[in-house]
Amino acid sequence: MNETGGSVDVLGVGKTYGQAVALDDVTLHVEPGEFMTLLGSSGSGKSTLLNVVAGFTRPTSGSVTVDGRDITHDPPYKRDLGMVFQHYALFPHMSVAENVAFPLRRRRVRGAELTRRVDEALDVVELGGLRDRRPAQLSGGQQQRVALARAIVFRPRVLLMDEPLGALDKRLREQLQLEIKRLHTELGITFVFVTHDQDEALTMSDRIALLRDGRVVQVGTPADLYDRPASRYVAEFLGESNLLPAANDSEALLVRPQDVRLSRPGADLPAGDHAHDGKVTEVIYLGSGLRVEVELRSGGRLIARTGTRLDPVPRPDDEVVVHWRQQDCVTVPA
């Protein structure tokens, strides 16, 4: 299945703008056919890294290779990579079909072959009926689908996407997330996907590279980053986290809210559980569950997520015992 995907290697890439450091010695390996997500807060260097791979930004140092071939000094139009932008960048003077045909024409595909491949790509994104519309006559989601079709129609071995869903509303975004995921499985090509949305990263990726201030702080599967974060920053970036003081000062204990259980004081606890006394300060009803905030007697506070059918339902000022299984907490370098 991964026969058509290219491998991407970023080696010691740095990028400075005057004094400002946008990328600091970034090294990253992307497997052929992999769905790699670049995740990070605003200004962490995600777009800069993607643009270095795409060829729009010239790195100050380091190199980029695709399938082992050094492309650091190739202009974008010689790299043969697909690219999808947050702002779609559809050509307003061309119809949907002409937009999708654009990269094929650059590769001298003509006649029946051209029509066939354009139709095929539009079918993949389920836009066959809109081929003669202008981009201005499409909704945001439709425009992004055209951009996707245009980026895959020439069968690039690597597809780069910079926050392609950033401008869409939540529902549409979730729908397109699934479509992009399906596309990845169908095409078997390598995806490098930029987002600042951790949920999006967790749902879609084979692996995630978390960036902070132009550096990669951790690369791994969603489970690696979520369950075994390499640092406090990673733990706090992905999902809600409780960080408690550990035995020594250079470490902290991480326990996720859904692993925290609540019991009445004096109740029997499973053997081996970590337990702390505390007092409920806030209870929020979320539909799918409760989010309970507890102030610990030992200092600090902790979040627990529980089902709604607890007996009794915790209320503010209730005295409680919070506890979790030994295997549900991990030590994290502070």
Binding site: A54, G55, F56, P75, P76, Y77, R79, D80, L81, G82, M83, F85, H87, A89, L90, F91, P92, H93, F102, P103, R106, R107, R134, A136, R150, A151, F154
Partner: protein, 261 residues
């Protein structure tokens, strides 16, 4: 209506009248039967229109003006677009100086341009030649193309060019398939300006004209200065008609395009 509004309307009407007043004088005069420019005419006739189409000096100068204006338009479109690209996109020292030099011809009084050009062209044998006119008029027309095209380039979304390059289009193809079609309306505007600049040019053209080659505006000018030939009124009226139809045509084209979009 309140007095202030009435006053505003009156002012607007008077200004409009003031601007089109020459039309009300020139058009009737062109239909006069008199051998002199006469307003208002006593007798009516088409003899000055007939004269225009039968007198070779008038026809020759019209054809010369059209040929020169077309060449000027093409040349200044190419040069002006290239200059605008350099001024908007370029990164090089003394960019402001380059912009100043490109715009200089509109700032320097035309008489000075005409005199300087005359002195040099006389030695080069370029006076009374189409090439001489084209060279001078192009210098005067380029700034107008630069102004319209560079304003289009400044508001141009360069991310579209990035997208094109990412999809495999080199710089030239990107320009031809993406940039050019999208700035085409501004190019058309610049073309109209360039054409009119050349077709309408009197000051420098007076220096370059002579028995071998005279442009229409210069012919009209001497038609009044030397012989007081009422054909001038007929020519003016026809030029007005052409201009009006051009503007009406552009207006209709814009309407049609908006309807389609």
């Amino acid at each position: 209506m309140r007095p202030a509004r009435v006053a505003l309307w009156a002012l607007a009407a008077l200004t409009a009248l003031y601007l089109v007043l020459p039309v009300f004088v020139v058009v009737p005069m062109s239909f006069s039967d008199s051998a002199f420019l006469e307003f208002p005419p006593q007798e009516w006739s088409l003899r000055w229109y007939e004269n225009f189409f039968t007198d070779l000096t008038w026809l020759d100068s019209t054809i010369a003006s059209l040929q020169i204006a077309v060449q000027v338009t093409l040349l200044s479109l190419v040069l002006g677009t290239a200059a605008a690209l350099g001024m908007v996109r370029g990164r090089y020292p003394l960019r402001a100086l380059v912009s100043g030099l490109v715009m200089a011809p509109v700032l320097v009084p035309y008489v000075i341009v005409g005199l300087a050009v005359y002195a040099v062209f006389l030695q080069l044998g370029l006076t009374e030649t189409a090439l001489g006119f084209v060279l001078v008029h192009t210098a005067l027309a380029v700034p107008y193309v630069v102004i319209t095209v560079s304003s289009a380039l400044m508001s141009f979304d360069r991310r579209l060019e990035h997208a094109a390059m990412g999809l495999g289009a080199g710089p030239v193809t990107t320009f031809a398939t993406v940039t050019l079609p999208l700035i085409a309306p501004s190019l058309a505007g610049g073309a109209v300006f360039a054409f009119v600049t050349s077709f309408d040019e009197v000051v420098t053209s007076v220096f370059l004209s002579g028995p071998d080659l005279t442009t229409l505006p210069v012919q009209m000018w001497s038609g009044v200065r030397v012989q007081i030939d009422p054909t001038v009124a007929a020519v003016s009226s026809m030029l007005l008609l052409v201009t009006l139809s051009l503007f009406a045509g552009a207006g209709v084209a814009r309407l049609v395009r908006r309807r389609k979009a």
